[in-house]
Each structure stands twice: as structure tokens, then as C-alpha cells.
């Protein structure tokens, strides 16, 4: 099984490698920057994004009460994903010609509503969790 994956993988890498060289040599001025972007992804992730995730995670575990940690953490993750997906819709210096029916919704408002919904749900879940915890503390189950 391992060998099957390895052989298929190496074959795909070989084929992709040949295609990639062709792609680069077809026009290095335009296509060469792909090399830089291939490296930039992991570097930006490891040097910026991951430490930020760690920092936010640490902040949540230190500053947020235990009952609220999961809802706050989940809402933070969902918000980060929504904002990331919204970037090319909100910041459009390279947007091409206007196409009616495409990319013409009111994204700032829709993003704000989605974020609001995320945090509303998080607050509701957090309230229910702390309420349940308080009740459990008041009426400890016996047996």
C-alpha cells in the first residue's frame, strides 16, 4: 500500500515537474514569480499566521473563563475563516471588468451579518453552558 502511494506520488511529481519546467520556460518573466509564491506561502504561514494562531489561542485559554473557552474559540476560528474568504471580495484592486450578477453583492454588510450571527450563537452557547454549570453546582447529582 505504501509503495503504491509512493510510486503514484513520484509519478505525479515527475509529470508535474516536467510540466512545471515547460511552464517556466514558456515565459519566465510572467511565470517565474510562481517559484517565489510557492515559497512565500509556507514562509508567511510559519512566520506570521501560525504564531498569530498560537498567540490568540494562548490569550483565549488565559483570559476566557473555562465555560466560555469553546464557544469563544470556535467563533474566533469561524470569524477568521469568514474574513479570509472575504478578502478578495472586499479588497479588489485587481477586479476585472464589472460583470452583472457576479461579485456585486453588498459584501461588507453581508460579512458583518455573518460575523454577528457567529458571535450571537457563541454568546448563546456560552450562556447556556454557564447556566447549566451553575445549576449543576447548586444541585449536585448524587449517586
Amino acid at each position: 500500500m505504501r509503495w503504491l502511494f509512493a510510486i503514484l506520488g513520484l509519478a505525479a511529481l515527475g509529470y508535474g515537474g516536467v510540466q512545471f519546467v515547460d511552464f517556466l520556460s514558456a515565459g519566465f518573466a510572467a511565470n517565474g514569480p510562481v517559484l517565489g509564491w510557492l515559497i512565500a506561502g509556507p514562509v508567511l504561514h510559519d512566520a506570521l499566521l501560525a504564531p498569530l494562531v498560537g498567540l490568540v489561542g494562548l490569550l483565549i485559554t488565559r483570559a476566557v473563563p473555562a465555560r466560555w473557552r469553546w464557544p469563544v474559540g470556535a467563533a474566533t476560528a469561524a470569524s477568521a475563516v469568514l474574513v479570509f474568504l472575504a478578502v478578495p471580495l472586499l479588497w479588489r484592486p485587481y477586479g476585472g471588468s464589472v460583470n452583472p450578477g457576479l461579485h456585486d453583492a453588498n459584501y461588507p454588510v453581508q460579512l458583518a451579518v455573518a460575523l454577528g450571527a457567529c458571535w450571537l450563537i457563541a454568546i448563546l452557547v456560552g450562556l447556556v453552558r454557564s447556566l447549566l454549570a451553575r445549576r449543576a453546582a447548586r444541585h449536585p447529582t448524587t449517586g
Binding site: L13, A77, P93, Y94, L102
Partner: protein, 380 residues
């Protein structure tokens, strides 16, 4: 004196998210998402640039639409999955010594290629579906070529890690983790739950581009509900520079069969038997929209000029230049009565932006090949 360093040691990462079971579980789903992306992406490429052995049927009418919706949504799902996976294995970046042996060096190199190519695919794809593409390199070629590197690196990675994946997902490991409810187990489950939740949010936020039920719900769908005549426009008549030609009084469609060329005015086309079909425009960029199209069935039109349905048909637009000014309708489609030279959409005359005076709309085809502002049809 205690040495203070900005670079943490691997052992400093103690959170449950860094457990191998987390990396394995998220990795399996990430692998599935990428496999879907790869297969559907290559399929779309084969349909647009068919090799001689390739055959693509005209039915079911929505098949292409489903494959490309899956392509883009699997890519969207892969964004939070990849973030979770990279966070899960992040401590390994700080393992010392950096390189232990030659196999270890190859493994680390393959991971750099893996993360580089996968991040590249997701980011370029996201900016391309938003039609806000900042790079000079041509998206379809770069995305396809790096896709091969990504899938190769993923397969090699699976080959290297398979024993760990097997151990982490084995029945015993699952039974053991179910039986324990200590803090690390709870944290691990929460991290996984958060990952699935964020993935679901990402898909739900964008799926309205292609899933009709979510059309009015997805806040970040690339298509809006403001489309003229109920169908989004991906290239306007103005951008294609066809307004003059498309509205000219003396416009005639030229159909070149085996013999002489036949000419049809708009009234001639309208006088031919009309057929109405519910067909989707399905864009390679992941959005799709079904509509009711009315026009002349292509097999009928071929009969009218004395050509046989099932012949390949070259479609030439009035658009003077551009990648999609020409297309070829293969025999499998010219034989299908649902393939139309459409004059109307959703009960109205085609607007200029939708291809007036007439456009091709055929079942189970990429939107970019549904050529608008048709000037000439040549039977091959």
C-alpha cells in the same frame, strides 16, 4: 543565565491540537478534499482541451455543474482544514536537529513542497473565483501544473506517514480515546469540533454560488441575486466589443455545411421549430445557474442545412479576439436535441450581455464554451 529565545522548542507545544490523532483525522479529510479538487479540475481541463481518447457525454445535463461546484467547494473546505492541519503539526518545525538523515531530509523537503503547492493552489483559486486575480502568470496553467506537484507531494507524504495514520486511526486507538475523558482528550475533541465547524461555515458561506437552496443565504457567494434575466453575466457585450456587430441591421448567421453556406436572419431562426430546455450555465469558477432557454435545436439546424447531427460543429463568435471567441461543439452534443442555438432566456429575448442575437447553450458543458454572439457555425 537562562537563554531567552524567540524560537520555541518542539517540547514547548503541549496543547492537545498537536496530537498525532488530530493531524491524522484532519489529514484524511484534507486528502479527500484535494482528491476531489484534483479529479474535478483535471476533468474540466480535459473537457476544454480534449485529448483524442477523451469522451464527454451530453447527459446528465447537470453533471459538469456538479463537478465544478464540488471543485470550488472542496477547495474552500480545504482552507480551514489546511489551517488546522498545519497548526496541528506546527511544533515539528522546531524539531532539532533539523535534519537527522537523508530520508528525513527528503521527508522535510517533500513537506515544504507539499505546503507550498497546496497553499498556492488554495490562494490562487480563491482570488480567481473572486475575479480579482493579481498575478501576471496565467491562472489555468499555473493552477493545473502546481496541482500535479501538490497531488504528487500529497501521495508521497501519505506513503511516508501511513504507519502513523494507521496507528492514530486504528480501532484500538479510537476505543482508547473514547474511554478517556481527561482534559487533553476533551481539548482534542474540541479542537476537532472547531475544525469541522469552521469548515462547515466556510462551505455554507460560499456554496450559494452553485447550490440553489443557499442562494439567498450564503453571505460570501461570488454570484449575487442581481443577475439580469436571472443569469449572471461573465463577459459583457461591451467588454467583448461586439455591441456594433450584434445590433447591426444586416446581421446574418452563416451556417457552413458540407456544401454551400446558408444564411439566416433573426426572423428566419425564429421561424424554425423552437425548443425550450432547462439548462444550467456552469462556470469553471464554481458558480452556476439554471435557466429556461428557447431556440433552435442544433440537430434540427444541422438537418436544415443538410448536415448530419453528430458532426462536430465549430462555433465562431462576433467577438473579434479573446480566448473564448471560438468553441467546438463535439458530436456527442450536436446529436442531442437539448443543445440549442438560443434566442430567448427565461421567456425574454436574449439581452446583449447574454449573447443577442443568438448563443450556444448545450447540456453538461463549461460555461466558457457556451459561446455568445454567434456569427458563424461551421460543420466539420
Amino acid at each position: 543565565m537562562k537563554r531567552i529565545s524567540l524560537i520555541p522548542r518542539q517540547s514547548r507545544f503541549r496543547a492537545a491540537a498537536h496530537d498525532e490523532r488530530v493531524a491524522a483525522k484532519v489529514g484524511v479529510w484534507l486528502g479527500i478534499a484535494f482528491l476531489v479538487c484534483f479529479v474535478t479540475g483535471m476533468l474540466s481541463y480535459a473537457i476544454q482541451y480534449p485529448p483524442s481518447w477523451f469522451y464527454w457525454p451530453s447527459r446528465p445535463v447537470n453533471l459538469y455543474r456538479v463537478t465544478q461546484g464540488l471543485h470550488v467547494l472542496a477547495g474552500i473546505a480545504a482552507i480551514p482544514l489546511l489551517a488546522a492541519k498545519l497548526w496541528s503539526v506546527f511544533p515539528k518545525l522546531f524539531a532539532r536537529p533539523m535534519v537527522r538523515s537523508l530520508p528525513h531530509a527528503i521527508e522535510r523537503g517533500s513537506i515544504l513542497l507539499l505546503s507550498g503547492s497546496v497553499i498556492f493552489e488554495l490562494v490562487t483559486g480563491l482570488f480567481n473565483v473572486a475575479q480579482n486575480y493579481p498575478w501576471r502568470f496565467f491562472f489555468p496553467t499555473a493552477h493545473r501544473v502546481v496541482g500535479w506537484l501538490a497531488v504528487g507531494a500529497i501521495l508521497v507524504h501519505i506513503a511516508i506517514k501511513l504507519p502513523i495514520v494507521r496507528r492514530a486511526l486504528s480501532k484500538e486507538a479510537r476505543a482508547a480515546s473514547k474511554a478517556t475523558n481527561d482534559q487533553p482528550s476533551q481539548d482534542r475533541r474540541r479542537f476537532l469540533r472547531t475544525t469541522w465547524l469552521a469548515t462547515g461555515v466556510a462551505v455554507a458561506a460560499t456554496a450559494g454560488s452553485t447550490v440553489p437552496l443557499l442562494r439567498n443565504i450564503s453571505p460570501l457567494a461570488w454570484r449575487s441575486t442581481e443577475a439580469p434575466q436571472g443569469v449572471p453575466v461573465n463577459r459583457t457585450a461591451k467588454a467583448a466589443n461586439v455591441i456594433g456587430a450584434a445590433t447591426a441591421e444586416d446581421w446574418r448567421l452563416v451556417v457552413q455545411g458540407s456544401g454551400r453556406a446558408h444564411q439566416f436572419g433573426l426572423a428566419d431562426l425564429a421561424a424554425l421549430p423552437q425548443r425550450t430546455a432547462e439548462l444550467p450555465i456552469a462556470c469553471v469558477e464554481g458558480w452556476s445557474q439554471s435557466a429556461s432557454w428557447t431556440g433552435v435545436s442544433i440537430p434540427e439546424l444541422l438537418h436544415a442545412v443538410g448536415a448530419a447531427p453528430g458532426s462536430e460543429l465549430r462555433v465562431i463568435s462576433m467577438e473579434p479576439r479573446g480566448r473564448y471567441a471560438r468553441s467546438t461543439l463535439p458530436g456527442s452534443h450536436t446529436d442531442d436535441p437539448l443543445s440549442l442555438l438560443a434566442l430567448r432566456v427565461n421567456g425574454e429575448r436574449l439581452s446583449l450581455d447574454h449573447g443577442y442575437p443568438c448563443r450556444i447553450i448545450a447540456p453538461n458543458r463549461p460555461g466558457v464554451l457556451q459561446t455568445k454572439w454567434v456569427q458563424r457555425l461551421v460543420v466539420q
